[in-house]
Subunit: 323 residues, 2 copies
């Protein structure tokens, strides 16, 4: 019936993606408060800040300060985002982050143009330079992302074979310089995926790269993220990005309604119910989602924080039965 | 990979369930406006009012007036809810409704007690009387519902075999009086289902009642409804209840966070993307969801009305390609 993994690894993206997306400024101490709270619930990897041009993204101007002020939990891999060597140098200078490089290709040429203003050959050249740079700096390359793996607002439907070809290109670009990427992330950047396209794309990618460790990065723009994650879990996918409360969005996706990543606590709830370990305490994570709502001053889309978990209800039933 | 149906039938429950759930009174003409709007988008079956005690449910005191004022579309089956013969007589007196009876059992004895204050044998006796009554009145019995088919806030997890046993009991009670129920609805009354329990329960029910036409009634309390619907579609389930915008909730479910039925337009969107016909125009339905939001004065949880459909994006891409 399904090939559920025994355990999945979730990378929490709420603090970076969520706070970056908010229009109102978020106080540094509030960012730190949420990151610290998330560090205590079983999250093992978390993207916490972007090192980007503070003029372009003023909300991330305090990135160094945030990193300096967090209480580092040695069991958590604190990650950051950067787009150039200047950003990377800033991240390294903090000496508190887990510095790993990542690469990105797009299954849509038009999205690549709109998002990074490059053609595919130009992007390949950029990646070759990045790989060489990372290698020369002794930095591990962690993952390759295939953006727009399930469809594109600029290009429409994306053929699974195209995604598989991008994965091959990604692996080949890395192999040229004797680099083996730890994982390949299939990103539903603009929320086009359905359970069917999840299966078709994963099948196509596995047919050309059977040994690649795959991840899913699922935006919930059309409410399909949890169904798409369930489809991925059934295929044994065991790595997901997620965002506490469903914080965030993609400002580049040419769509005002673009939603954030799949809600972390809803994904953890699903896994709990399917007997899949996440290492995360869902009740404590729900408290983090509520904290995030208080900090940003508006409701977040996640469901389990409102509906409640079943663990609590089962405990109440058990107590009533013995009373 | 899956056994998607070619076409599904959705019964819209927003006007009844949604308006009944709202705390503030809804003007009769607003109810009529939404029902009329839904009648024009391809919805073929819709539960529009309850005939219940107006002292207990003041928001449904105008049920007759609502039914009298709607513009009847002959392609739509307008349905109502009632709990006793008095309610049924009121529904019949309107002469504008599609009068069909339904029966309910519960896969949780404690929910039956909490919801209807009856034991299972008492409920069986009540159903025997109801069947006899419907038969004597010449009213077709339409469906049997198994409440709490996927779990219960009062009783905890529900074994799939228990649901299958209730289905057998339901069919046997009908057969005693030579009645054949058109369908059996498996209701996730309190939002406990996951894609795995959907599969387990459907498999168990099909093993004892392979010929029964199954329906799913899915509450979205924990954000799993769309994943559960996707799991049902993969098993060939072709009848669903749904609620425009995700209106509604279950006030009897001992949980403040109880959410409404699966959002109709999100389900239609999923079906559109999977190539499953619903007969419903999703763009027009989204306008109905927005109308519902204006009427009730607050946002509804559906996602596609915010994220937008892909049909529009595909059309824009096609236009840009030819320009």
């Amino acid at each position: 019936m399904s090939d559920y993994p025994g355990r999945i690894r979730i990378k929490e993206e709420g603090p970076r993606e969520g706070f970056q997306y908010e229009k109102a400024p978020i106080a540094t101490h509030h960012k730190v408060e949420l990151i610290n709270a998330l560090s205590r619930v079983g999250v093992t990897a978390m993207q916490i800040v972007s090192f980007v041009n503070p003029k372009a993204v003023p909300g991330m101007a305090d990135a160094e300060e945030v990193v300096r002020l967090i209480d580092v939990n040695p069991d958590v891999s604190y990650r950051a985002l950067w787009f150039n060597e200047k950003g990377l140098r800033r991240a390294m200078a903090t000496q508190r982050l887990d510095i790993k490089g990542s690469l990105a290709l797009s299954a849509s040429d038009r999205f690549l143009k709109a998002n990074l203003n490059r053609t595919a050959p130009e992007q390949h050249a950029v990646l070759r330079g990045m790989i060489a740079n990372y290698k020369s700096m002794g930095i591990v390359l962690d993952r390759g992302t295939i953006m727009a793996s399930f469809g594109c607002n600029y290009e429409g439907d994306v053929a699974p074979g195209r995604v598989a070809a991008e994965v091959r290109t990604m692996l080949a670009l890395a192999a040229e310089q004797d680099v083996r990427l730890e994982s390949i992330s299939l990103a539903d950047t603009m929320g086009w995926a359905t359970p069917r396209s999840i299966k078709r794309v994963i099948d196509a990618v596995r047919s050309v790269a059977p040994d690649a460790q795959l991840e899913l990065h699922l935006h919930d723009t059309r409410g399909m993220a949890i169904a798409n994650a369930a489809a991925g879990l059934e295929l044994g996918i065991d790595r997901f990005d997620a965002s506490v409360g469903g914080m965030g969005g993609c400002p580049f996706a040419a769509n005002d309604g673009a939603a954030g990543n799949i809600c972390t606590e809803d994904l953890v709830f699903l896994c709990d119910e399917l007997g899949i370990e996440t290492g995360i305490d869902v009740e404590a994570l729900i408290e983090c989602a509520r904290l995030a709502e208080r900090i940003i001053g508006h409701a977040l889309p996640g469901s389990v924080k409102t509906g409640g978990t079943l663990r609590r209800l089962r405990a109440a039933v058990a107590q009533a039965s013995t009373a």
